[in-house]
């Protein structure tokens, strides 16, 4: 059979194939990616879009958690001092209910209770970044103001939710109506009642004990409602850990999906170079000898 006399074309084809393999391996090594354009592996590229979005969401959730956490911590520590203040008010009440107390001593206790009430008011009107933390969602104005009948709540009962994981949102505030002015456990009413009772000369020790119990009820309500902040902070910490490990996992997935196996790419590169060199060597050794070369030498 007659074979194609054009050896160079065969050589060129082989060389261009080797060149292409070399370029691919080189690109993969330099970018560290097996999929550099979608056509390298269309379904992996489509998966990467989803993973990249999930990974971005993780970063965002982590940022949101950081910004919520500091607000929650501020609220928590404010409530902590509120609880301590109420404990002090209760012990003042207990002290006042002692039958040996003079009216003058009780008046002194009453004035301390009033200053505790002032302290509680400033805690209840705590603001963070210009927002009133315990106002529900009506957070642009102080939730507790002094009115004719005492201190009234002008916030609302709404709670905001923030998404902190894919598909998981948590409440991030506790309205004042749950903390300071719940029905039957109103901090300001209780403190005001205690102060009034302590001040009044007609008050019996029983009256004082009752007023103290009123404060105790408000204390219990505040103390149990404030655990919301502690447990939310715990949950945020747990989510933070989860998101960080999720991010690692997504990074690993991306690398498995579109990353390059460096050893494999290096081997591919070496193979492509070998193939190219072999082709070149073959081309050089085949040369362009033909029968003419031998016929020509006869005459010399």
């Amino acid at each position: 059979m007659r074979i194609s006399p054009y050896i160079t074309q065969t050589e060129l084809n082989a060389m261009s194939a080797a060149d292409q393999a070399e370029q691919t391996a080189l690109l993969q090594l330099t970018t560290g990616k097996r999929v550099n354009v979608a056509s390298d592996d269309p379904s992996a590229a489509a998966r990467e879009v989803a993973i990249s979005s999930q990974s971005g969401d993780c970063d965002q959730f982590l940022r949101s958690i950081a910004s919520i956490s500091s607000e929650l911590q501020t609220a928590d520590s404010a409530l902590n001092s509120g609880v301590t203040a109420l404990q002090r008010a209760i012990s003042l009440g207990v002290e006042g209910a002692n039958g040996t107390m003079s009216q003058q001593d009780r008046a002194a206790l009453a004035s301390e209770v009033q200053s505790i009430s002032q302290q509680m008011l400033s805690i209840a009107n705590l603001s963070y970044n210009g927002k009133y933390v315990f106002a529900g969602t009506a957070d642009s104005q102080p939730p507790y103001v002094a009115a004719a009948g005492g201190i009234v709540y002008q916030g609302n009962d709404s709670v905001n939710q923030v998404q902190i994981e894919a598909g998981q949102a948590i409440a991030v505030n506790q309205p004042g109506s749950q903390l300071f002015s719940a029905a039957g456990a109103n901090v300001f009413q209780a403190l005001s009642d205690l102060a009034t009772t302590l001040q009044s000369s007609s008050s019996t020790t029983d009256d004082i004990a009752n007023a103290t119990n009123e404060v105790r009820a408000a204390y219990n309500q505040l103390n149990s409602a404030r655990t919301f902040y502690g447990s939310t902070l715990d949950q945020l910490n747990a989510s933070q850990d989860f998101l960080n490990s999720e991010k690692l996992q997504l990074t690993q997935q991306t690398s498995d999906l579109v990353g390059v196996d460096a050893n494999q790419a290096a081997t591919n590169l070496a193979n492509a170079e070998t193939a190219r060199n072999a082709t070149l060597q073959a081309a050089a050794s085949v040369g362009n000898l033909s029968l003419f070369d031998y016929l020509g030498s006869r005459g010399r």
Binding site: Q9, S39, A45, S52, G56, F61, K131, T137, N160, A169
Partner: protein, 456 residues
């Protein structure tokens, strides 16, 4: 019995024949590196014998002509494969441009969609914060721009393909005209005439070139060839070529291709033109439609969610994006509000509420386009652009390999081998020398015969 002069004439014929062989060989050697050259050889035949007294005397050799060594079946296969290659190449080039508009990494529409939803999450931690509200609007603007950019560039790719269609049709016309001219020349020549082969070579080259541009069927009747598209539109018949024309189709806004008044745009299936049309009229419009569907689905869902809430002034939410639908939705996507206080984050009218942001965020997991969430729909576009290129490249590589093999086979029939030519050269030289020697011998014999009389 024969005469000495007859013998002389046999030897003369042999000289001529060997000389023709030498000439052919030299021509082959001269065209060793000429692309598309088909090797030739002299067609030699025994001359009719003279029968005298029951004995047949050979009358030497006769030069019938020069023939080119070509395999017409291989040529057809090469033409078909060239059509496939031309189509895949044009398609891959076009779709590679489109592919860059849908990146899979941290740029492009997908990233902007993510950023937008992330900005909503950020705002939910402090819903009345004006800076955070502004960044939601910025993210919305960036998302709209990403859609605008991709849609406009997709259109730009399409219109550059449109120009290519026009140019390619022009190239087709130039080639078919040259082929028609060659048909005319070849019809006037005898197939054994000197130079016939080179005209055939030229025509074959043109047919292969044409195959790279458009799908062609070749009907070869020996001298003249008739070329049609695979669907039967005549391109060349004998000495006449039929030009393709292009005209703007008002319905589609792109150039349509006409042959003798008939619209053949949808019937061109091969060559560069086939690939350009496939990308321009099928793949790219399909991607455009999906992009528009994603844009309008996203806008509608986000507007619906936005309308459920209240802005910072306590008013019900208006449109977040200008309403868009159908074709051109992605290109015209735009944010409807520029005042961050108008963002309806609140679900109860209080400034501190973030309730409606959850409704807006939920759109990220809603089916907004063909049953897919925004990110899924974008991922699908990435997949489609990628597959178009990768499938096209696979076909292109297959065509290239096939074509290389076919061309090698063709070269094994038609290529010039220097070894072969060298040995032919020797053969013709020896035969020429021998014939010349025969003439010398006959001449001596003739002289002997003449001296026979003179010596009387």
């Amino acid at each position: 019995m024969s005469s000495l002069l007859g013998t002389m004439s046999i030897a003369m014929g042999a000289l001529e024949a060997q000389q023709a062989g030498l000439e052919t060989t030299t021509n082959n050697i001269a065209n060793l590196n000429t692309p598309g050259y088909t090797r030739e050889r002299p067609v030699l035949q025994e001359a009719d014998p003279i029968i005298n007294g029951g004995i047949a005397y050979g009358e030497g050799v006769k030069l019938q002509g020069i023939e080119s060594l070509r395999d017409s079946i291989l040529e057809l296969q090469i033409s078909n494969e060239t059509q496939q290659q031309g189509q895949s190449q044009a398609y891959v080039n076009a779709m590679s441009q489109a592919q860059t508009l849908f990146p899979d990494d941290t740029s492009g529409i997908g990233q902007q969609i993510s950023n937008f939803f992330q900005s909503l999450n950020s705002l939910s931690t402090d819903p009345s914060n004006l800076a955070l509200r502004q960044s939601v609007l910025s993210a919305a603007n960036s998302m709209a721009s990403a859609f605008n950019g991709a849609a406009n560039q997709l259109s730009a790719v399409r219109s550059s393909l449109d120009q290519n269609v026009e140019q390619t049709a022009g190239e087709v016309n130039q080639i078919t005209q040259e082929i028609a001219n060659l048909n005319t020349k070849l019809a006037k020549l005898n197939s054994t005439a000197q130079g016939y082969g080179s005209f055939l070579d030229q025509r074959d080259n043109l047919v292969q070139k044409l195959s790279g541009l458009i799908d062609v069927s070749v009907i070869n009747d020996g001298t003249s060839i008739t070329l049609t598209t695979k669907q039967g539109a005549t391109l060349v018949a004998d000495g006449q070529s039929f030009a393709l024309s292009t005209a703007l189709d008002p319905a589609s806004g792109v150039q349509h291709v006409y042959s003798q008044g008939a619209d053949i745009t949808g019937k061109i299936s091969g060559g560069e033109l086939g690939g350009l049309l496939q990308a321009r009229d099928q793949t790219l419009p399909a991607m455009q439609t999906q992009l528009d569907s994603l844009a309008s689905g996203l806008v509608q869902a986000l507007n619906a969610a936005h309308a459920q809430g209240f802005d910072l002034n306590g008013n019900a939410g208006g449109n977040l994006f200008s309403p868009v639908s159908g074709a051109g939705a992605a290109a015209s996507m735009a944010v409807a509000i520029s005042d961050p206080t108008l963002l309806a984050a609140s679900s109860d009218g209080t400034t501190g509420s973030n309730g409606n942001l959850a409704n807006l965020s939920a759109v990220a997991n809603q089916a907004v386009s063909n049953g897919m969430t925004p990110t899924e729909a974008y991922g699908n576009l990435v997949f489609q652009a990628g597959s178009a290129v990768s499938d096209g490249t696979t076909e292109l590589n297959a065509s290239n390999t096939m074509l290389q093999q076919l061309q090698q086979q063709q070269a094994s029939v038609s290529g010039v081998s220097l070894d072969e030519e060298a040995s032919n050269l020797l053969l013709y030289q020896r035969a020429y020398q021998a014939a010349a020697q025969a003439i010398t011998t006959v001449d001596q014999m003739l002289q002997t015969a003449i001296q026979m009389g003179a010596g009387k």
